[in-house]
């Protein structure tokens, strides 16, 4: 082989490896992004209610170790001292406790109303309506010491504009089940 052939050979080797490195970048860059972002994505999924599980009317769904069922969604029209064009809405749930470790499973319990545009309402403290003794909110149910097999009656009160009462649906999110959350359908859906 002449000296020129040798030079050409080494040139070819260099070109081949340069090409291989560039192709490898196609794999390495997404891999780096994935490794770097892994913790952030885990935190994002653990803190946000992103994926809805639809629950048909009257159906009971196993969620957070217990069986959840929506029993009623109604508005309390005609109340005074409220902001204009707003109406209090009550969402009632009947929950059959399965796993009684509610302090762990129901931590971060968030009951919301979601409308057709995706806007979310959380329970309000501006309105208090009298309820019978065994009805409680989700957060107080966590510490109620319920045992497996008990049925809890939960009620949350919201304040929503009058024009969304047709499209709002109740939803429940728990820290143990995030990013999934329950979206209850009404009878007319």
């Amino acid at each position: 082989m002449t000296a020129q052939d040798l030079v050409q050979q080494s040139g070819l080797g260099e070109r081949k490896w340069r090409r291989r490195s560039l192709w490898a970048l196609l794999l390495l860059i997404p891999l780096t992004l994935a490794v770097d972002g892994y913790d952030s994505i885990k935190a994002l999924l653990a803190d946000n209610d992103l994926f809805a599980r639809r629950v048909a009317w009257g159906q009971s769904v196993h969620f957070g170790g217990s069986d959840w069922k929506l029993t009623d969604l109604r508005g309390a029209f005609g109340m005074a001292n409220l902001p204009p064009d707003s109406v209090p809405v009550l969402a009632d749930f009947s929950v059959k406790v399965g796993d009684p470790d509610l302090q762990k499973l129901w931590l971060g319990c968030k009951v919301m109303l979601i409308d057709a545009a995706g806007r979310r309402w959380t329970p309000t403290s501006a309105v208090t309506l009298k309820a019978s003794g065994d009805v409680q909110t989700c957060t107080s149910a966590i510490f109620s010491g319920a045992r497996s097999g008990d049925t809890l009656n939960l009620r949350e009160t919201f304040l929503v504009p009058k024009d969304v009462t047709k499209t709002i649906r109740p939803a429940v999110g728990l820290a143990s089940e995030r990013p999934h959350f329950l979206l209850f359908q009404l009878e007319r859906d």
Binding site: D85, R120, L159, P161
Partner: protein, 192 residues
């Protein structure tokens, strides 16, 4: 010879470029700071999750508050500024908790902590579709009242989240140094 000078020139250009990059990099505090949403008084400023509209500013020498059934007069060494702002949430129920008054010289006055029991102060809980009014109360030097900016955000650590910056415009000053519209006592127990 040409090669050498070309290399040196390239090196100098690279040095100048890198120096320019280093000098023009924003301060870390600005990089992770709140994202401003600017506007004037009377305009609705749209943030990421809340909207704010400053309606009016009132100045007073004293404030009258009802505290546990007793009336208290709050005095100040400067002047009281009470801004009425209407808030609305956009996509989710949230609460607006932090507001400060930035005077024309850059001094930042936080909300007063002397009136935690009065009506309409921050934090205010807002729901989508239901606008709500609140009163922001500040205690300032009279020379910081004109051409000030109101900075409002949901949380104290609003890194990379919206902060409403509302320019409150010029305020006429009277001969005693206080704003011309200063009243003697403003009754905070009146509805907003």
């Amino acid at each position: 010879m040409m090669r050498k000078t070309a290399n040196i020139v390239l090196l100098l250009v690279a040095v100048a470029f890198c120096y320019g990059l280093q000098m023009s990099k924003p301060h870390y505090g600005d990089l992770i700071g709140p994202i401003p949403a600017r506007g004037k008084m009377g305009e609705t400023i749209v943030g990421r999750n809340f909207e704010a509209r400053a309606e009016k500013v009132a100045f007073a020498r004293n404030l009258k508050v009802d505290r546990f059934g007793e009336t208290k007069i709050l005095t100040t060494g400067g002047v009281w500024a009470v801004v009425t702002v209407e808030f609305a949430a956009r996509a989710q129920s949230t609460s607006v908790a932090v507001a400060s008054w930035r005077g024309p010289t850059g001094l930042a006055y936080d909300q007063t902590e002397r009136m935690s029991f009065a009506d309409g102060l921050l934090p205010v809980a807002i729901d989508p579709g239901l606008p709500k009014k609140a009163r922001l109360v500040f205690e300032l030097r009279p020379d910081e009242a004109s051409n000030a900016t109101l900075l409002i955000s949901e949380k104290l650590m609003s890194a990379l989240d919206s902060q409403a910056e509302i320019s409150l415009g010029p305020v006429a000053t009277a001969s005693d140094g206080l704003p011309a519209s200063t009243v003697d006592t403003l009754d905070m127990s009146q509805p907003i």
